[in-house]
Structures are given as C-alpha cells and as structure tokens.
C-alpha cells in the first residue's frame, strides 16, 4: 500500500508527468494518417531528400542471380521533441 510521504510527494507527481507514453507509428501508412501526420511527413520527406542527395542507390533491374533485401521505415520521437524518420535495411536477411 502506497503511503504519500511529505518528503517525496512532489517526486511522485514528477514521475506521473514523465510517464506518459508517446505514440510512435509503426508503418509509413500509420505515420501519414495519424494525428501528427504533418510532423511525420516533414521528417519522412527530409529523410528522402537526404537519401537522394547522398546518391544512396541507383534503381536498376535486379539481376537474375540476386535477390533484394527488404527495408522499412522507422519513426522515432527524439527526447528533445524532434521527429525522425529513418529507412532501415533488413540486414539480417543478408547472407
């Protein structure tokens, strides 16, 4: 049973405030349809621009003897409140 003690009362309130979990979309579709879609879209577009600017890849036909590894988008809220999108390859499917 929790007894509110004078010494730590304010600490408990702090814990409650800090404890509110923030929503992070799991897929691109979620991100572009949730309440914060404007922020997520901006983050996603900035990541796309950065990928394009760095010449990360060239699009070409996949050779017959090769297979393509998968990838997905990750959406994260940084501790300082920034919205981050990141493209991640499924490296575990590499041989």
């Amino acid at each position: 049973m929790w007894k509110p003690s004078g010494l730590f009362a304010s600490q408990t309130q702090f814990a409650l405030l800090a404890g509110q979990e923030e929503y992070e979309p799991q897929t691109l579709t979620d991100a572009l349809n949730c309440n914060e879609r404007a922020e997520w879209r901006a983050a996603w577009e900035s990541e796309l621009t950065s990928l394009a600017k760095n010449n990360t890849w060239v699009i070409e036909p996949l050779p017959e003897d090769r297979s393509a590894i998968g990838c997905w988008w990750l959406f994260k809220k940084k501790e300082d409140g920034r919205y981050k999108a990141r493209l991640v390859a499924k490296g575990y499917s590499q041989q």
Binding site: T56, V58, E60
Partner: protein, 488 residues
C-alpha cells in the same frame, strides 16, 4: 564504441581545466560510407520510380543497387567508422590505442570522442572547436548541438564559475520506474537491505519464461543506470543479476528495493570538481555469495567523483580473505593500467599518480603483492593474479593501506546500513542535483562574503552538510526544488 568510463574521464578533466565541451551529430552518418559490395534492396515504400526506368522493356523487377551503406546493413557501422577515421587522420588526429573512439590532436589540443554518429569535442578554447567544426561541416552534414547537455542518456550540467559538473540520469530513471510500474512505490534509503540474504530459488520452483524475461529486463534497465552515473547501486544490481535464470518472489523484492531507492533519489549523480582528489580503491567480501565465491569491487575517483567502478562476483573460490582481496586487487590493477593509458593519451599526466595509487584495506594482500616470496598459503593462487606483482615492482601501481571505515569500495562488496552507505556515496562524488543547484545560490551569496581562495576541502565539507540536511529535510525543500529539476 565509446565507453562510459572514457566520457566520464573526459568530462572530469574538462571540468577541471574549464575546457569547452561541444556536442555535434552527423546527419545520416552511415550514408557517408561507400559500400564495396554489390547489394540490392527492394524499392522502399513511398519512393517514386522515374518514368523512364519503369518496368517496360525489362522482364526483371526493379531494385535499388546500394552505393552508400544504409542503416541496418551488417557492414554499415564498419564502413562509416573507416570513413570518419580516415577524416580524422587527415586532420592530424591520433587514435588512442586504449579506446578506439578517442581521437586527439596534440598540436591543437583538441580531444574528440565518437559514438557512432555522436561527436563530443573538448578543447581549451572555442576557436579550436570552431576550427574542427568547420572541417567537419565541410566534409559531412552535421548538426551542432551546442554545449554538451546529454550523452547516451546521461544528463550533463556544468557550473563554469565553480568549475563543477553534474552527471545524472533522472529522465532515464523516471522512464524505467514508469515502465516497470514502480513510479508510485514507497522510496527506500538504500538500494539493498543489509538484513536480507539472497539464495537461489528452491529446486522445485521454476519461473515461467515470461517472468524470467520480465526480471531480466528489469535488471537490465537498472544495469544501464548503474553503468552511466550510479555506482551506488552497483552491488545491488550485480547481486540480483546473479539470479536472472530462475527468479522467485524473494529476488523480485530485492529488485523492487533498487527501484524504490532510485524513486527516492532520481536526481542523484556524480559531481566532479567539488572534492578535488583522485584515487583508486579496491575491496572484497570473502565467501559471501551463496556458492561461497567472494565479491570484489573497485572504484577510481578523478577530480572528486568516480570515473570507473565495478562490483563482481569472483570466478573462483578464494581460500582466505587475503586471497579474495588479492583477486579484487588484480582486477583493479587492470583497470588502473588502462586508465593510465587513457590519461597519458589525453595529456593529463598530472593525474597519473592518483590513478596509480590503489587503496587496500587488507595488509596481507599488500604484503602478498609487494614480495613474491614463497608461502605455503599462497602457492595455489593462480598465475593470472600475479601479474600485479610485476606492476607493483615497476611502480606502475602503488599500494596504500586504508582502514575499512574509509574504504569507499566497501559499497561494492556488501549491502551497507544507511550511514556508511551515504558516507561512501559521497566519497564516490554522488550528490543530488538539488544540492548541485544550491551551489549556485551559495556562489551568489558568496560574491559578497565568501573568500575566493576556499580550499577544495572546505567546499567538500560544505557539500557533505548539504547532503545531510537533504536527508532530514521536509517536504517543502523538495517541492521548491522540483520545478528546477524538471527543466534541467
């Protein structure tokens, strides 16, 4: 990978010498590394394929042939590291052999620490930092974070005029308290109850897989706090982690006790620059484990607070107290040699003497380390522990005797009652953030009455009393401090 010890060492020195410490991060760091292999990846969701490349004309599906390494590939971290290492070499940085994430430019006196895409730069002046900042911006896409405020979840606060620096993980602690539903718990004064003796679960008891995972994740989250800025919970965490395989309710109670201690002291952390000395400490508790193995621990203090610590159950059974201490000492010697290497690399030779000196509270272990004479009681001690004799002979390590009551490393070998727990915590440099903030107001008042030439000892006494008053303070004290803590 940067080690916590290296960043703490760097911050302790920066605080002492009043260096500028700036944080930067590399945007999409891995995209800077060029791939050597041919790797194909499916076209990501949302990427539009140019019309001229659309499928018509090919019978094969389209894919992205990667040129740069992207997140998730197995070789990405390596290619990125090779790239930035090359950049540092060009700009006359030497990589430390003791920590490969540490780079030093001796000519310009810049120290740089790299953690994947986070860069910490320390230098005596802002001009020097701006020099490397320009070079980095020229080469990579960077974000400037200004004076370093957080690193790997550790919050850093400095008081430049007092030359003090406080490290804490209050946000992290609040998060794990919430995650493990402990935010409404009843706070405890120490992380471990010295009356409780833990034993293995009875053979008939078998924790479910779910319970096991939950226990391990709770212990793991405590361990991260311990590694970052909380040496005070090191013993308790190492104790509970020994029972991860089959935890029952008695073990859960002990884990909860650690959470309860953290709930009462979320803002406690290491404060550098208040008590000026450096030193090494090692201690052991003979045969205290349930399998009769001993617990050994050590701590190294630099610029008034711990930079390195460890609490560990020894891997072999010791036959005597002396032997347990001797084994703990050999662990401490290894750490000391490593720290000396780093200190030498960052050009802080003035501290070598302090880190070289290890305090032991067992005369037998000191005698054993000092002379290699044959002794019927020690002939079985494994050769690996005798490497320390060599270091004592070469004077790369010096040993001092220290009475048990002053043995700071005692906190790593047993659950201590509250008074001695607090005493050793303070000796490790642990101070509540509210007390750290208080220092500022003290400083303000003192601009009128306080002598500027206060010795470090004076200030350490001051902080000790503040800590004591906190222990007895009333609710008002906390609530008026809290808003400030929230912002910090």
């Amino acid at each position: 990978m940067a080690k916590f010890t290296t960043i703490r060492l760097l911050l302790a020195l920066s605080c002492e010498n009043d260096w500028e410490v700036e944080g930067m991060d590399v945007k999409t760091a891995f995209l800077n590394g060029e791939l050597e292999e041919r790797i194909y990846m499916e076209i990501p969701e949302g990427v539009t394929v140019p019309a001229n490349k659309s499928r018509g004309g090919y019978n094969r599906p389209l894919a992205c042939r990667l040129i740069k390494s992207i997140y998730g590939l197995k070789q990405s971290p390596r290619t990125w590291y090779a790239r930035i290492h090359g950049f540092f070499l060009i700009h006359n940085f030497t990589r430390s052999d003791f920590d490969h994430s540490l780079f030093i430019n001796y000519e310009k006196q810049i120290i740089l620490l790299l953690y994947v895409d986070d860069v910490v730069v320390a230098a005596p002046s802002m001009q020097l930092i701006d020099w490397i900042r320009r070079k980095l911006h020229h080469e990579f896409e960077m974000t400037d974070l200004g004076p370093l405020r957080t690193f790997l979840g550790i919050e850093i606060q400095r008081n430049r005029s007092e030359r003090t620096l406080h490290l804490s993980q209050s946000k992290y602690v609040q998060r794990i308290l919430h995650l493990h539903k402990m935010e409404l718990c009843n706070p405890a004064q120490t992380p471990a109850d010295h009356h409780v003796r833990l034993e293995r679960s009875s053979p008939s008891f078998e924790a479910t897989l779910y319970e096991q995972k939950r226990y391990q994740s709770a212990v793991g989250s405590l361990m991260y706090a311990m590694l970052g800025s909380r040496p005070d919970i090191a013993y308790a965490v190492s104790k509970v982690s020994q029972y991860s395989i089959n935890p029952d309710t008695t073990h859960w109670t002990v884990v909860k006790r650690i959470f309860r201690y953290l709930a009462g002291t979320p803002n406690r952390g290491l404060c550098y620059g208040i008590q000026g000395e450096g030193n090494g400490f090692t201690d052991a508790d003979w045969g205290s484990g349930d399998d009769r193995k001993s617990i050994g621990g050590y701590a190294f203090v630099l610029n008034g607070a711990a930079i390195a610590w460890n609490s560990k159950k020894q891997s072999t059974v010791a036959l005597s107290f002396t032997e347990a201490e001797y084994m703990a000492l050999s662990q401490a010697v290894k750490e000391s040699i490593w720290l000396q290497g780093i200190l030498q690399d960052v050009g802080a030779r003035q501290h070598l003497e302090e880190i070289r000196n290890i305090n032991v509270d067992n005369q037998g272990a000191i005698a054993l380390a000092r002379n290699a004479e044959f002794h019927a009681r020690t002939k079985h001690i494994d050769i690996q522990y005798h490497f320390l004799r060599e270091h004592v002979q070469n004077q790369t390590i010096t040993l001092s005797y220290c009475p048990t009551s002053d043995m700071t490393a005692d906190i790593f070998t047993k659950a201590l009652p509250h008074p001695s727990f607090i005493k050793h915590s303070i000796d490790l440099g642990l101070i509540d953030h509210s007390v750290f903030l208080l220092q500022d107001t003290i400083g303000d008042n003192h601009t009128t009455g306080y002598q500027d030439n206060a010795t470090p000892q004076d200030r350490s006494e001051e902080s000790t009393t503040s800590e004591d008053t906190w222990e007895d303070s009333t609710g008002e004290g906390w609530s008026c401090e809290s808003p400030a803590l929230l912002q910090g």
